[in-house]
């Protein structure tokens, strides 16, 4: 794969860094790719905003900073406002659809997929796993890392005792993403 740049943005407490960490780990440890992760907190945006920059490539990565992401994952309106304009033409926006509304800041030619990740996480019993729902959604919509690699990275990154819940959160996001892009069981069907 050519170098792919990903930016994850949201608020403190949404697990933005862990989300980026798991994507990088899935690619690097379980999919044999190269990955870098840079995390930024606070001053970069207002309030407790934070973001993670992840780069994935087949070759070693020389420049780890993400200026113009191919994929942008946003979990808060601020992160959307700040980073949406930086998306590459032809890029993909993944957003928390009950927290973020799209507007003219979204560059033309960008594909946007929304997911009510907070609500799905709450349905699973814990709002805390919203970021893992997002990881699943990222995998389901972009297939940039394999589902197996990502699920393993999830299970190996979360605290002991929370593995199963996080696994369910991952699968929920994955399924939602697959359905939205027409690859899932419940997705758009062609009449026989």
């Amino acid at each position: 794969m050519p170098k792919t740049e990903i930016r994850v943005g949201g608020l403190g407490g949404q697990g933005v860094i862990l989300c980026g960490h798991i994507i990088g780990k899935a690619a690097a440890i379980y999919d044999n790719k190269h990955a870098t992760l840079i995390q930024s907190f606070g001053p970069e945006a207002r309030g407790s905003a934070c973001s993670a920059q992840v780069s994935l490539a087949d070759e070693p990565i020389g420049y780890p900073y993400v200026k113009r992401p191919d994929v942008l994952i946003v979990m808060s309106p601020d992160a959307y406002s700040q980073f949406a304009p930086t998306l590459k033409p032809g890029g993909i926006l993944l957003y928390e659809s009950e927290l973020v509304s799209l507007d003219e800041k979204l560059p033309e030619g960008v594909t946007a997929y929304g997911i009510p990740a907070t609500r799905l996480a709450e349905e699973l019993g814990r709002r805390l796993v919203l970021n893992i729902v997002m990881v699943g959604f990222f995998v389901g919509t972009t297939a940039l890392v394999s589902a197996e690699a990502a699920e393993r990275a999830v299970v190996h990154s979360v605290p002991k005792g929370t593995e199963q819940l996080n696994q369910r959160a991952f699968r929920k996001g994955l399924e939602f993403g697959l359905n939205l892009t027409g690859q899932g069981n419940g997705g758009p069907r062609h009449d026989a």
Partner: protein, 200 residues
């Protein structure tokens, strides 16, 4: 409806392999038979009359794998040898709490099965986001108290003379509790995304 992670195999201390899986509609008669086989002294302190058809009908109808999550241990011949169930509510002030009830068939007791079933139930509870698990045990149920203690439960409260056994004798009820909220604290710390050194 399915329960993630099941069926799974479980090996007893003596090497017997059992399968742990959720209760399904087809298990009703076998479950009733399992409870009717339990000696009276084991049934003495169970909350419901688990040998009645009415109980079995109601129990089976209540299973939704969300608020009533029952697990079985079965032999290779599908004989039920243990049943452990988690009860939760999804609303109200104890929505973070689950209650567990457990019974092991006599020939299979004292082989670590009760403890093993509890491990499964605790795992299922945490995978549903539960923060605290409780069990009600009568003060002289040594085996039960021991099994719960081995799985991280402690005696949290005693209700004096709270239960009457089927012979009419009053006994103390011990509420055993396992606070698993620390694992949620670990999870919360991981997603806090706060770094004082970086100005967050």
């Amino acid at each position: 409806m399915t329960l993630e992670g099941y069926p799974r195999d479980l090996t007893c201390k003596d090497g017997t392999t059992l399968t742990v899986r959720p209760v399904e509609a087809r298990d009703k008669d076998a479950l009733l038979a399992f409870y009717r086989e339990l000696p009276e002294e084991d049934r003495l302190f169970l909350r419901d009359d688990v040998t009645s058809q009415l109980w079995a009908d109601r129990f089976m109808a209540s299973i939704d794998y969300e608020t009533v999550i029952p697990l079985l241990a079965v032999t290779a011949d599908q004989e039920i040898v243990a049943n452990g169930t988690l009860y939760r509510t999804l609303h109200g002030w104890t929505r973070h709490v689950a209650e567990v009830r457990l019974a092991v068939a006599r020939p299979y007791q004292r082989r670590g099965l009760g403890t093993a079933m509890l491990r499964e139930l605790v795992r299922v509870a945490t995978s549903h986001g539960v923060e605290k698990i409780v069990a009600s045990v009568v003060d002289n149920q040594v085996g039960a108290i021991r099994a719960f203690e081995k799985r991280g439960f402690h005696r949290e409260a005693v209700l004096k003379g709270h239960v009457k056994d089927i012979r009419g004798h009053k006994r103390d009820l011990v509420i055993m509790a396992n606070d698993v909220s620390h694992i949620w604290e670990a999870m919360a710390a991981m997603v806090a995304d706060y770094s004082p050194t970086l100005g967050g």
